[in-house]
Amino acid sequence: MDKVISSVDEAIADIPDGAVIAIPGFFTCGVPRALLQALIRKGTKNLTLACGCGPLLGAAEEMRALVKNRQVKKVIDSYALYRSATKGMQDPFEQAVRAGEIELEVYPMGTMAEKYRAAGAGIPAFYTPTGVGSVVEETVVTNIEANRAPKETRIINGRKYILEYALKPDYAFVHALIGDREGNLRYAKTARNFNHVMATAARVTIAEVENLVEIGELDGDDVHTPGVYVHRVVKVERPRFAITID
């Protein structure tokens, strides 16, 4: 089945207000920036951006626009704000988080990865040792006090674990180096990061690809994400890279 869509705008046209969208990328690496730019043009509101390792620090321009347009209701991530307090104070996203206008929910990075993998694998929740002894064990970590739900723990073989839940986004935007018409994907080096698990987790996965190839041109042994997880494929330009974090 040919899953190719002719433009990023068409690929995201059905995303409704209030959608939960998974955004992969480790800082600037492997971030679906063209799809984010289409989302800004479309103006979809009340979005939850479910991340994992700081893609909105990498796609800083896109994030500034999304915040300015008041499109974002909530961000879920392991690392979402600048480490530098001075830079943070000037960042519109951190200002919105401080004011309680955008919710920021935080989990350890490995827990974020597992939340998506569980969702993609039909596992509703899992126990992890990560976070025991910290605030992560006590409640959901969020700037919105009313949403700090307590967490469950359990002792298994003498060690304490935290119960964490699968996270199933409505959509995932992914960025791949190569994709074929059936949605088989191959990533470049560390640009793989959260792209694969998010593709498996979402109800609808939209892949932007730098190189679109015909079926058979991507060898079966080279496929990182099988096409069964990918619903739409769209060709994009190779993004520019820049260091923006600290």
Binding site: F27, G52, C53, R83, G88, M109, R117, S134, K189, T190
Partner: protein
Amino acid sequence: MKTRLDEQTIALRAAREFPDGAVVNLGYGMPGLCANFIPEGRTVFFQSENGMLGYGHLAGDEEKDYEMINASDQPVTALPGMCFFDSAAAFDMIRGRHIDIVVLGAYQVSEKGDLANWGRPGRPATGMGGAMDLAVGARRGIVTMQHTTRDGKPRIVRKCTYPITARRCVGLIITDIAVIEVTPGGLILKEVAPGWTFSEVQTLTAARLTPAADLKEMEL
């Protein structure tokens, strides 16, 4: 004013802790510099939570590849035999205890080896990245940091007042003035930076230090 070690020198001292064949993860910031200081004759496999094992030193200006970055968003160089995987697999390695050593930065370390490195009082929760997984999962935790805060307050304390990353996960603390081992019996001062004495280091430490029987000056 006594001389304190710069970040490069702290990283050099930390890298001497990596045995031949070790799998090592380097945390955000100063720990990333350790990749440039592997002692001669040793092979160390650096792992990164964005899905990479077996990378080399930090890339120079002419060899920067922004699709091959470490945990600090710095491009690194390729080594023969290196491999890539996704972040879920990277954290399988971390939580599954396949990582020998993690080097992390810190705001505070307690005398019991509790680590606080992800949040500061008065700021929204910025996020802990992979630090909690690494602190819990790696077989040995090493901290590199400045011994005191910018306004001179001790970072090595009896109990952490900053948000905890993980409990009892730090085995060795390497600072700009000292190398301190965390033991069940307390903190042992193993080495001092050139020109520093036990009592000078103790004055800048809020937990009790015991001098090692073989306390010595760092060899740099």
